[in-house]
Amino acid sequence: MLHGYSSSLLDGAWLTLQVAVLSLVLALVLGLAGASAKLSRSRVLRAPAVLYTTVVRGIPDLVMMLLVFYGGQIGINQITDRLGWDYVDINPFAAGVATLGFIFGAYFTETFRGAFLAVPAGQLEAGYAYGMSRWQVFRRILFPQMLRHALPGLGNNWQVMQKSTALVSIIGLSDLTWLADQAGRSTHQPFLFYAVVCAFYLAMTAASGVLFRSLERRYSVGVRRAAA
């Protein structure tokens, strides 16, 4: 089956999974930082966060990928040439993860910002009244309640993000989509390999659907659905 290409496709699937998960981690960190900056009282923190979400969400992912990888490399080359250094290579894996994480961090910023705002201020004030520190209020009161509001949006962004990993092929990473495309064209059976790709992505998104539903249940304890 698959004309001997199955092991190479498995490698591609593993790479796709790695890119997706690592970008998710980076995007979550950037999203939390971005949302905190956007909600902060300091203009110095707010301004770059607003610039970040406006610019990044406004540029197509593909263009961003090309800019960072090729534009960044040409920029670095000019600097190293001027300094007389050796050629310094941007690692495509790091660039792919960084770019995807950077792009989706902007979407996550907005998701988190909305979720932070959805937690009633009285809850936080009650926390302070009990003598909790800012960190304690964040960890015990704000974060768990915020996450309940954020999870549906995060799940949605995560699904989009998994499929966006196919973009990393443009910068030379052998992800599943590109390997399947090459195998399909080399054997002249494109649809067979496209079907494999579809099955993989569907399995990945379905599995994360299950995970997100259980997370949502966990963070919704203490809130009861209205009876229909």
Partner: protein, 262 residues
């Protein structure tokens, strides 16, 4: 804060020393254009472009490595020094010459129109008016059709990959494809999917000076403009493998007829 994180991620880089005497050369190909270059089940690249590249390296006594690169990023990646040379059936055109340098040609193929068997279509403007003609974007066939046909009533449909053009031809969404004749022969007409199809009209090498200028000088290996020394070495090696029979041996593996042209 976010910017410094991005920079930190980009600093995860690896160093590599560029040998100025070219005893190590990094070649790139697409790995999806059989029989010129394709990907083997183990992930390695194979095909005419690859064999020629390896023969040149053997002649130059250089150590060569192969990188697979998506077609759309091919020239940007060469310019940003991800590799040193492109051997991927890239035609030498005036437009590409603005950005990169080429060796002498290592083969030249005509363009041809492919349609249903017995189709009355011919690769001439009068015959193609009002028809939907598919081409692979960014190829010589695309340039040719864009230059001579698109503004004169031919409905040009551009695709990212030639394989997609064949799929749409099979689905009846286009009337014909205008394509490299060797590509069509090896990649479609001799396969089950292409059984109902054939060349329509004669193959075109350039019927006048204007057409010849667009079709170009054939297919060469692309290198950065600043690496003129590498270009000269490759050209010398190319002459040598043409003269000592290595070239013909490789060609016979893939094609029954000569593909070097005049």
């Amino acid at each position: 804060m976010k910017r410094s994180l991005l920079l930190a991620a980009l600093v995860l880089v690896s160093h590599s020393v560029v040998a100025k005497d070219w005893d190590k050369i990094r070649f790139a190909t697409e790995g999806a254009y059989p029989p010129f270059n394709s990907t083997a089940p183990d992930g390695s690249v194979q095909g005419f472009d690859v064999d020629i590249g390896n023969a040149l390296c053997a002649e130059m006594k250089a150590e060569c490595t192969w990188v697979k690169q998506e077609w759309d990023g091919m020239i940007p990646a060469l310019m940003s020094r991800k590799f040193d040379a492109i051997s991927a059936s890239m035609s030498i055109t005036a437009e590409r010459k603005k950005k990169v340098d080429f060796t002498d040609k290592y083969y030249a193929t005509p363009l041809a129109l492919v349609a249903k068997k017995g189709s009355p279509l011919r690769p001439e403007l009068a015959s193609l008016k009002g028809k939907r003609i598919g081409v692979q974007r960014g190829t010589v066939a695309d340039n040719f059709a864009g230059h001579f046909w698109a503004d004169h009533g031919v409905d040009l449909v551009r695709y990212a990959k030639q394989e997609e053009v064949y799929l749409d031809l099979g689905a009846g969404r286009i009337d014909a494809t205008w394509v490299d004749a060797l590509e069509a022969d090896g990649g479609f007409l001799t396969k089950p999917a292409g059984a109902e199809y054939d060349f329509a009209g004669s193959q075109v090498f350039g019927r006048n000076a204007e057409e010849k200028a667009v079709i170009g000088e054939g297919v060469g290996i692309a290198i950065r403009k600043r690496d003129a020394d590498l270009r000269d070495k490759l050209n010398t090696a190319l002459k040598a493998i043409r003269a000592n029979g290595t070239y013909d041996e490789i060609r016979k593996k893939y094609f029954p007829h000569d593909i070097y042209g005049e």
